[in-house]
Symmetry: none
């Protein structure tokens, strides 16, 4: 079974909103084993909308439309689809009652055009809307099923979960199971990964493999389909083993858990606290940590030591060290980690110093980075040479910091 | 002239990424007066990709494709379009040199498949990539112009701005000038703004007005078209005056300059330094500041004081104050600002304390926020009650911090 997602609304084509509905629905459909072949967005123009719907119904088993169900003159989806299928629009009493209730509940006068939202395509399956006024519906068009959903994500997401998904599951009468597993890698480029796994990508049928790169992290999603849970799992295990034999050095875990959350969970499970001295990264590492709920048990705080003066006065880095070695140095990184650990009285400290750019610093090009980690007994310093914009260098430095800290904790 | 945007990549159809490129390009095209009629996304499947490209070239004057230019076997865009147009793929020496330089510069071994990225469609116009390895190109297909751009936004956005836009402007031979002006507002909701300007939105023809909301900031883009520069500017001035008469209290400036950059520029022009004590925001304010190039002259550093212990030991907030008033209090906010200013020896300090959630703290619900600003003589505390997720609350608190700090500096 294959599907197509059609988003309707001129605000998409004007670039005023991003089509996040398409990615939400696509992800949900992939879990059901439905292959999405096309996304289309079209404006509130009757002719082009009709053409897009006609083409979608002709080439796709399932067409999911979002938007254009509202009360204004621009909202045409129902009307066009009714015309295409030769069906009438009829009042749906339940939907009408829902609208009347809504206005009574909020003590507001119902605008007359809201009645338009109670019209449904005759003979369609209704999907109720518990978060807004436009109901969804499913209409057969030739051999295709066309599903209409409202555009606002706060209405679409619950309607999809509560009514569209159960409808699709029943319709599909699913016997095959689909299992996915995400492998995460770090410090390996997507092209390097592709090269090392080239023959596996070539030969893939079931399970399939799909890479996805973002800011230094590469994810590989393995997906298997089949009726036997045991066999499915064994196939995933086998493929995973083959992959890790080749690029296991870069492997940082299974699942959707981002690196920073892994670090927080490791700290929690080992009952270790951490602080940071951030020069290059200017608070970005700390804010990454504090984006994780429950981090307060392992992270009391940190210092942003952007200027040399703060490094000297608040973190007691000797002026001579800065003069002889510079702040972009292994020695300075080491001292920052050491002294911030003492100031914040934590088990571990990590420091970041270097050149974010765009200008050079102390003769070092942008992207020169030193990261030091210490627990008072063991310490280490990593030197990196990163490419990219200022923002990019700061972001990736934080990722590397998490990566090294994770390794440090695992090697304890 | 009408356009279509074709995004290529199975990760879109699997819902792993959102098609933000389509909205970015659409917005840019709308400023040029080019109407976008369709967005399409298609996967890394040769047959479907060919069909989509064929249809796009047949129905649209301009087709902008994003993605599928990378080094892996999945990346098919160039090959398919070359096939469709009966053109060959040829080595482009400049692009190849760019790739070789890139790997030499970072002292890394070039994977063999990277050479694939130096292949271009014969006779195409090349758009250089200064932020990655895949160059863009423009190829005529029948009466349509097909433009190929890389998928990663950090490569696409600068390439579009620096090379695609100038190319389109020349191609269009625009005689009408288009002038835009962005007015920025803060602390006013999009619907409140829409209500106050309702009649202006209704009546708009030239200039036009388009609102765009994001995280507490609302931007209003005024766009005028016409052949006379003077008249254009006068029309924008007149509309701006009318708007500011109504909602001038929320106005924070003209242009794309984000709030945080405005703050840094104000600090620089007034030769003031600032520090921060971040509890609730956990480093996010500092990292926002340090994302601005050249901030080091006004921001020596700051402290993330997440735990009570750090508030007491490093920032000398009296234990009794925390016990009697709590950390989520005006008194604590005030003390944090005061003492961090002393510790970092700056002109001004700002502090953030409150509840990011999802749990309550000291009986206060998530979203309770105190922000204090002091310069040693003048101090102020703002209390906010924000809604939303943890991340959302932290983000908007930083925005409010910038807003209050800007006002503080302007009122000096």
């Amino acid at each position: 079974m294959n599907a197509e997602i059609v988003a309707i609304g001129s605000e998409l084509l004007l670039g005023q909103i991003v089509n996040s509905n398409a990615s939400h629905i696509s992800k949900e459909l992939s879990y059901l084993g439905i292959d999405v072949y096309h996304h289309v967005a079209v404006g509130d123009n009757p002719d082009r909308l009709r053409d897009v719907l006609k083409q979608a119904a002709a080439r796709s088993d399932l067409v999911i439309c979002t938007g254009g169900l509202g009360p204004t003159k621009d909202d045409l989806t129902k009307e066009i689809l009714a015309g295409l299928t030769g069906r009438d629009l009829v009042y749906d009493e339940e939907t009408e009652q829902n609208i009347i209730d809504y206005y009574q509940k909020w003590n507001r006068v119902m605008p007359e055009n809201n009645r338009k939202q109670a019209m449904v395509i005759k003979g369609s399956e209704i999907l109720p809307n518990h978060h807004g006024l436009s109901c969804g519906m499913v209409v057969p068009v030739g051999k295709s099923q066309v599903m209409l959903l409202p555009g606002p994500p706060n209405e679409l997401i619950p309607m999809f979960r509560d009514f569209a998904l159960p409808y699709l599951k029943t319709m599909l009468n699913v016997t095959e199971e689909i299992e996915s597993r995400v492998l995460r890698f770090f410090d390996i480029g997507e092209s390097m990964l592709a090269e090392k796994l080239d023959d596996l990508f070539e030969a893939q049928t079931n399970p399939t493999m799909a890479p996805l790169a973002s800011m230094g992290e590469v994810m590989l999603r393995l997906t298997v389909k089949g009726e036997d849970t045991e066999k499915n799992r064994a196939a995933l295990d086998e493929l995973q083993d083959t992959i890790l034999d080749r690029i296991g050095d870069y492997f940082i875990g299974i699942g959707e858990t981002p690196l920073v959350r892994q670090v927080v969970e490791l700290l929690q499970s080992r009952k270790k606290t951490v602080t940071a001295a951030e020069s290059l990264t200017g608070g970005l590492f700390s804010s990454a940590l504090t984006s994780v709920q429950g981090v307060s048990s392992v992270f009391p705080g940190s210092i942003v030591c952007y200027s040399n003066q703060v490094k000297e006065t608040v973190l007691s880095v000797p002026e001579e060290l800065i003069q002889s070695e510079g702040v972009v140095s292994e020695a300075c990184a080491r001292k920052l980690a050491e002294n911030s650990r003492r100031l914040f009285n934590t088990d571990i400290a990590i420091s970041f110093t270097g050149v974010a750019g765009p200008d050079e610093l102390e003769g070092h090009p942008p992207g020169t980075v030193f990261i030091s980690i210490t627990d008072g007994k063991r310490d280490e310093v990593h030197r990196l040479q990163l490419a990219g914009s200022r923002e990019n260098i700061q972001d990736r430095t934080v990722k590397y910091g998490c990566f090294y800290l994770r390794t440090f904790l695992l090697n304890e």
